[in-house]
């Protein structure tokens, strides 16, 4: 399967199953488009007609181009066949280890954001804080179930995890005290709204956290519209100076300023550029995921606008890169030479198998987005996974699980998409969230175009 598209003056051809990327001129673009449908002589005749006003396009030239395409086909870089569907990926029998936990340190929040999928941190349940006992047991559970995997990831999530900061610190101290004896390396991530950031938090996170995710939606009016304090005021002025100080002192350690855009700010590139103007360079901006009748829900009418925005962003990032002042956009990070192997591309995010969420009470869920939906409770950190039926569903949830993905060129870039989004949109984790697919494909086209542009 191939995917070919034109963007920002480039003609790009992706060979899906080999991962090859080709940049071609107009004639080669047309040859590739028709190569499998037409015989050589018909193809030459048709293209001579199409390029009648271009004298340098002769029958010989077209013939040479067809030969080049045939050579790429023979070397497995064009029209390569799908060798993965029939490979022995027996996902149900796959022996997986757990390598990442999302610890729901606090099911409570000091902000009251309208679009919060976690229902203001409570996940449709009671307010709760994780105890140190539960946190330590979660660390033990992860070590016990991680096999020979060395790097283990733990995300402190909520609600707002800094509302239970003392427990965060003690869990980290506990994990550090035992990681060497178990030959493990913990990588901690903290996702915070910033309200409680102080010197203590900055010093701790910059010492211990591999990554921090700082929630900011961009321009003040955009951010304050939905990210409000409990008394209804915007939080922008409180958090931005804290984030700036945090990042300034973070040195070269990882962070993301992460925003959500909605129907209210479909011109979201202005929010990304605002983040850059504030001095941040590592940026992520996600489309809101919510019921379609919410007033801020993205609509199908918004899609052309959003596509254009992604193009504006890509072109501006090329400009910034060339001027020596680059910014990173999470969804445009694509490493064509050092990216994921085919196993990762097929198996996806690992929710419910390699990755689980732990509630304040120690219950296990396939990921943070399923917390609160009791049908999806997998078990708990004391007894392990007990709901094997649900876990098997997740084991089988991969790039080849969804009929809708069969002919999609992007399936090895998204591995079939987010199970939670599919569940909420289609009622099944092996359904698809079509709107998300459209945005994802556009982002991949832009990300690959940027690689092409910057390789010149």
């Amino acid at each position: 399967m191939i995917h070919q598209y034109k963007l920002n003056g480039y003609n790009i051809v992706l060979d899906v199953y080999s991962g090859s990327v080709h940049v071609v001129d107009d004639l080669a673009y047309d040859v590739i488009e028709r190569y499998q449908q037409q015989g050589r002589e018909d193809l030459i005749a048709d293209l001579l007609q199409k390029y009648a006003d271009t004298p340098e396009v002769t029958a010989e030239e077209i013939g040479e181009c067809i030969d080049d395409v045939a050579e790429l086909e023979a070397s497995g870089k064009l029209f390569s066949s799908d060798q993965y569907e029939n490979i022995a990926f027996d996902f149900k029998k796959r022996n997986t280890v757990i390598k990442a936990l999302c610890l729901h340190i606090a099911h409570t929040c000091n902000l009251n954001c309208d679009y919060c999928f976690a229902s203001q941190g409570k996940y449709h349940g009671e307010r709760a804080l994780m105890s140190l006992e539960v946190g330590k047991r979660a660390i033990d559970f992860l070590i016990e179930n991680s096999g020979s995997r060395v790097n283990l990831e733990v995300d402190f999530f909520g609600g707002e995890p800094l509302m239970n900061f003392d427990v965060v610190k003690e869990i980290v101290a506990y994990a550090r005290s035992i990681e060497k004896q178990h030959h493990k390396n913990f990588r901690f991530t903290l996702t915070t709204n910033g309200m409680l950031i102080d010197d203590d938090v900055i010093e701790f996170a910059n010492r211990e956290c591999h990554n921090v995710v700082l929630s900011l939606d961009g321009r003040q009016e955009v951010h304050d519209r939905l990210r409000k304090t409990n008394n209804g005021k915007g939080s922008y002025e409180i958090i931005v100076p804290k984030f700036q100080e945090f990042v300034k002192r973070r040195g070269n350690k990882g962070y993301y300023i992460r925003g959500t855009f909605t129907h209210h700010n479909t011109d979201f590139t202005n929010d990304i550029f605002h983040m850059a103007d504030l001095g941040f360079t590592e940026l992520s901006m996600e489309p809101v995921v919510c019921p379609p009748d919410d007033p801020y829900a993205l609509t199908y009418d918004d899609l052309p606008v959003l596509f254009e925005q992604y193009e504006i962003l890509a072109k501006d990032m090329i400009r910034r890169e060339k001027e020596g002042a680059p910014i990173t956009f999470y969804h445009y990070m694509i490493d064509l030479t050092g990216g994921p192997c085919i196993y990762k591309r097929v198996s996806g995010c690992g929710s419910g198998t390699e990755y689980m969420a732990v509630t304040p009470w120690g219950d296990l869920y396939p990921c943070h987005q399923f917390v609160g939906d009791e049908a999806y409770c997998l078990g708990n950190i004391w007894n392990g996974v007990e709901n094997h039926a649900v876990q098997d569903e997740f084991k089988l949830c991969n790039a080849y699980a969804r009929p809708e993905c069969k002919d999609c060129w992007a399936k090895l870039y998204c591995s079939g998409g987010c199970a939670a989004n599919a569940y909420h949109a289609a009622g099944s984790i092996t359904g698809i969230y079509k709107y998300g697919c459209e945005l994802f494909k556009k982002r991949m086209e832009c990300a690959i175009m940027m690689k092409v542009a910057l390789a010149e």
């Binding site: 497995g76 993301y256 192997c341 196993y343 996806g348």
Partner: protein
């Protein structure tokens, strides 16, 4: 080739033999939390070599 430039990419077919160590980051642990996309993940082995 005169009209086709091939960008350097990882050969996915070869990675059937070389991949699958499982040391890579879990997709959702980084910055999205609301959508899966594996393409922007790093191969842990490849990044060690760099």
């Amino acid at each position: 080739m005169k009209r086709i430039k091939t960008i350097d990419t990882r050969d996915l077919k070869k990675s059937v033999q070389t991949g699958g160590c499982g040391e890579c980051q879990t997709s959702c642990q980084s910055a999205c939390k609301t959508s899966c996309g594996v393409a922007n993940q790093q191969c842990e082995k490849c990044s060690e070599k760099k």
